[in-house]
Subunit: 107 residues, 2 copies
DNA sequence: GCGATATGCAACCAACTGGTTGCATATTTG
DNA sequence: CAAATATGCAACCAGTTGGTTGCATATCGC
């Protein structure tokens, strides 16, 4: 869970996910073409994505294919985002109540 | 957008959001009681949350109240998570296809 | 007004991050 | 087998991050 948030924190890694979203199952060298960085740098980013289980690697001969795994994103969305979305109205009313409490001196 | 992902990357900041979710509009000192860290440390974390617009501060006298703003989370959920969730089935079939392609030698 | 309370700001530090270079290993191809 | 291709691993380096300490400022209560 923490690994997923950390993995999503970097724009390069999000770009990698986007790239895989565009064409799934790309090899490391294919992914390198879209991101200006050394191959080893990309390997590190992919390592974090794999550790967060957002990407699943698959060896085919000397090539390593990378596939998206949408499960963690779904989980985060459900466990975290929706929880706060549900409190949307409450939060807004809280805030406006706070603002009202600020000005009880209209004299 | 990037600021939101970065802000969510730290467990302490997520804990702060959780705490505010539990009781909205808490003051800095109130938030300090739930997280073992110096007040200044928490101030820094809150600063990032405010910069990401996930938290809105509100001064009342010498106290600074902190309110949740659910808008950025909603936006992320819609713009990012759902995009990948939509590709859920496709991603899975891609992966299983990749797995199948691995073993075309059953002889 | 004065002490206590609530917060801000800046400097500093260790640890982590993002990225590189260099070299090793495995697989494919001719 | 040898050359080329695809990848891994480790060391290193600069910049950022997470957290601290120290001191300044503003507001409340007596």
């Amino acid at each position: 869970m923490d690994a997923v948030f950390k993995a999503l924190a970097d724009p390069n890694r999000r770009a990698l996910l986007d790239q895989l979203h565009l064409q799934n199952g790309q090899t490391l060298h294919q992914l390198c073409r879209h991101l200006l960085m050394t191959r080893q740098g990309i390997t590190k980013h992919l390592g974090l994505l794999v550790k967060a289980d957002l990407v699943v690697p698959l060896w085919r001969g000397r090539e390593k294919l990378h596939y998206l795994n949408p499960a963690p994103l779904k989980q985060i969305s459900e466990l975290w985002i929706d929880k706060h979305k549900a409190a949307c109205l409450r939060a807004l009313t809280d805030l406006t109540k706070g603002l009202d409490a600020l000005k009880p001196e209209p004299n």
